[in-house]
């Protein structure tokens, strides 16, 4: 580092100062070697082009994390079950695992779910309207839609949705449950899924659990031990993130009335670009302090690789600092602007390359429906208090957002 004012990571600061800091970091160097509490050192890559180059290069792998040969360098620890999933697998194992579920998540398939998603949203908004304001938008709405969509996709029967929702929330820190309650809910979810898989194996339906329960590989069907981590990965990856970004989108619009006006003038037309702009920049558009911190799940270099002039040695770890890369002026015009019509928008929030988010099309569709439906129903939606955040989890999302209308 030659510019001593360009430190990374950096503590929470105003969005303006964070932009300035990130610009200095990108100008100074392509990456910074950071030391984390778990797993030690990792190169955080800051420039957009360099991040993409790394994510496209198969010499960066995850197997050493999966086998336990290395610990993942990160501010928090990853749950063990994740390490048996596609997220920590390299090809050809990654291809095998991703292939099992990928068909359910293609853009075409996701479009078929849009109407259903809209209906889930409308039903929840009906309930909010009946109860009258104020409401907690997270608890009553933005968290519920992704859980319902995921239940639909997996094939959780409508009669079990309430139970399933309650148990699934053990994946979140937003519920204020005790250790013991968490363990009990986790066990109940596990048991429930085992029973549902058995039922689907006996009598397949047109859903993802049936597809997994009846999938055949070299004439062997998948065992429960193989299916369960897949289902759990979809739950962990699937709704917390989506709910959080959808909530962030609503709040970002409320805090940026000029952009809200643009959105309200053509909700369906603007929703797609809005969703991607929230993914890129939502955290900066709230007006709250932001920090320069960890990025996506790291990789390990299998040989010496030079990226953007920096040598990464075999055995060293690298990580995409997407927050800084998503504001790179070499990839985005006016990166500090929240622009709900931004296009193109090559943000890296859903990653890129091999591990590009399996649920990317689903997440985008859900965000579009969630944000679009609430503003169509309540064009005068307003804040009824301060939002609060969960701090003690992998994805530290918004845990409540009081609103009125």
């Amino acid at each position: 580092m030659t510019d001593t004012t360009a430190q990374f990571p950096f503590p929470p600061t105003s969005p303006e100062k964070a932009h300035e800091q990130m610009r200095r970091i990108r100008e100074d160097r392509p990456m910074t070697q950071v030391q984390y509490a778990f797993g030690g050192k990792v190169w955080a890559i800051h420039r957009h082009a360099a991040v993409k180059q790394m994510l496209e290069d198969r010499r960066f792998v995850r197997k050493p994390f999966a086998t336990g040969a290395m610990e993942v360098p990160y501010p928090v620890q990853f749950p063990d079950f994740l390490k048996t999933t596609m997220q920590f697998a390299d090809p050809p194992e990654h291809t095998r695992l991703r292939r099992l579920v990928a068909k359910a998540f293609t853009m075409r398939r996701v479009e078929l779910l849009r109407e259903k998603t809209r209906r889930f949203a409308e039903d929840l908004l009906d309930a909010m309207e009946r109860k009258g304001p104020p409401a907690d938008l997270v608890r009553d709405y933005t968290l519920q839609v992704p859980i319902l969509v995921l239940s639909e996709l997996l094939g959780v029967p409508a009669a079990d949705r309430d139970k399933f929702t309650a148990w699934s929330q053990v994946m979140l820190a937003t519920n204020g449950l005790s250790e013991q309650e968490l363990a009990e809910h986790g066990a109940a979810l596990y048991t429930y899924l085992v029973e549902l898989i058995a039922a689907r194996r006996a009598e397949p339906a047109d859903d993802l659990l049936s597809a997994l329960a009846t999938a055949r590989e070299k004439d062997d069907s998948l065992t429960d031990e193989e299916i369960l981590p897949i289902a759990m990965l979809l739950l962990v990856a699937g709704f917390d993130n989506t709910a959080n970004f959808a909530t962030q989108g609503v709040l970002a619009l409320l805090r940026n009335p000029d952009q809200l006006r643009v959105f309200l003038a053509d909700i369906d037309g603007v929703a797609p670009t809005l969703a991607d702009e929230v993914l890129r920049h939502g955290g900066f558009a709230l007006g709250n302090d932001v920090e320069g911190s960890a990025g996506l799940v790291p990789f390990v270099a299998t040989e010496d690789v030079e990226i953007d002039g920096q040598l990464v040695r075999a055995g060293e770890c690298v990580m995409a600092d997407i927050s800084t890369a998503n504001h790179d002026e070499n990839a985005f015009a006016d990166p500090e602007r929240f622009d709900v019509t931004r296009s193109p928008n090559p943000h890296l929030t859903l990653s890129h390359g091999l591990h590009h988010c399996l649920g990317a099309s689903l997440a985008r569709m859900e965000m579009q429906v969630i944000i679009g439906s609430v503003f169509r129903r309540f064009p005068g939606l307003a804040l009824a208090g301060e939002e609060s955040y969960a701090t003690d989890f992998l994805t530290a999302g918004m845990s409540s957002l009081p609103v009125t209308w």
């Binding site: 496209e56 853009m107 990317a360 099309s361």
Partner: protein
Amino acid sequence: MTAEKWSLEVDRRRCVGNGMCVAVAPEHFTLTDGRSSPISAQVAPAEEVTEAFELCPMSAITIRDAAGAEIDPTR
């Protein structure tokens, strides 16, 4: 399915370069600059191509029949 040729296209603006198509149909797709493209634009109908078409997360692969009409071989 007829014995006629398929023509393949990859929408390189939509492709996210995750390589699923290359993994399942290495004889038909290749990654250049992090994006996929068909190795040859005209191919005989093949199961691997159908699978790549179906698995592509961005639905970025288009298959056309000899008359140039888009087809979905999974239907």
